[in-house]
Amino acid sequence: MARISAGIACSHVPAIGAAIDLGKTQEPYWAPLFAGFEFTKKWMASNTPDVVFLVYNDHATAFSLDIIPTFAIGCAPEFAPADEGWGARPVPLVRGAPEFAGHIAASVIESDFDLTLVNKMDVDHGLTVPLSLMFGQPKSWPCLVIPFAVNVVQYPPPSGNRCYQLGKAIRRAIDSFDQDLNVQIWGTGGMSHQLQGPRAGLINKEFDAKFLDGIVKDPEALTRIPREQYLREAGSEGIELVMWLIMRGALEGPVRELHRFYHVPASNTAVGHLILEPQA
């Protein structure tokens, strides 16, 4: 049977992708950030999953204002890195897991979470930057990826609680897939940041520290944070953090924290990262 072996939380700032692609990771500005992922890259090399269920948000790339799915699961055999306005990132094609994704979609929909099914889409930095942070610059990605896009562009996004409950349904779906697969679930985006308006540049280290602790020890408490509180305290784009709760819901029960990293700034954003192992 398929099983979830780890959960990863990770920010997905576009400038991090640009730093990697342009060979700037050892520059003084970027070196401290990439140092925080050295442990992860080594750990990932010896704990490479067969499949990553990758929760991220599309940034007006695959989804314009024509169609705005709240939750969308990618069921295609492959996903091309998108041209977001400056040319596509020079990263490998992302290979999907159509049969597994189809099973998860059916199971989750039967659990009353009505997903949008996507059979063709390009994937933007939200998905490819975490892959680069975990795996570096390989010729091809070492695992299959099921992209899971969450609307956090047009308000209101799904609540933290809805995301957490959905994570639990995803866990049941993965557990019931009849193939021996090592699966990781990644929750990406965040941490505190605001990219727009006169308040751009907002960083709230206290909020972030509490959120990191909460993800590890008391995710139920985080599910009670109302949307508006994210907007006010973590910044208008900090609301991406609800996606971490999908990952945490899928881990269920107590977890072991293998690695934690927090760094300000990456461009406009506070970067947070966790590696968690389910104990159950």
Binding site: A15, S192, G197, I203, L231, E233, S236
Partner: protein, 125 residues
């Protein structure tokens, strides 16, 4: 009744903003194609005139007035296609929206970013 309208220095991109900014944001989307970026750069006004945007929206684009575009229904992830076409970064655009120079803004971020101030009234920013 919206309860999030009082967040200082922040435009929440909700259904109302989305309706207002539909064509502005869809114009931005078109800049994801290299050929369209070239056409836009070759003649911005003519390219904008192909879109049923308001005159105010078109002028805000021509002026690269990002706060103006936000007020007129733009969303920053869509507007990113404009500054990417200009070869500018998110940090450049963010600095512009705060009224700081890019150097000043970058220094603020290196020093830990803009501090969260609970309950600060809108006019205070």
């Amino acid at each position: 009744m919206k309860t999030y309208g009082d967040i200082p220095g922040t435009t929440v991109f909700d259904a109302e903003q989305s309706r207002k900014g539909y064509h502005l944001n869809m114009f931005c989307m078109s800049l994801m194609k290299a050929a369209n970026r070239e056409r836009f750069k070759a003649g911005e006004r003519a390219y904008l005139d192909e879109w049923p945007m308001t005159e105010e929206q078109k002028q805000a684009v021509l002026d690269r007035d990002y706060n103006g575009m936000l007020a007129l229904g733009g969303n920053v992830y869509f507007l990113a296609k404009i500054f990417s076409t200009d070869g500018k970064s998110f940090q450049y655009a963010a600095a512009l929206m705060t009224g700081m120079s890019q150097e000043e803004y970058a220094r603020m971020m290196l020093a830990g970013g803009r501090a969260y101030e609970p309950g600060k009234p809108k006019e205070g920013v």
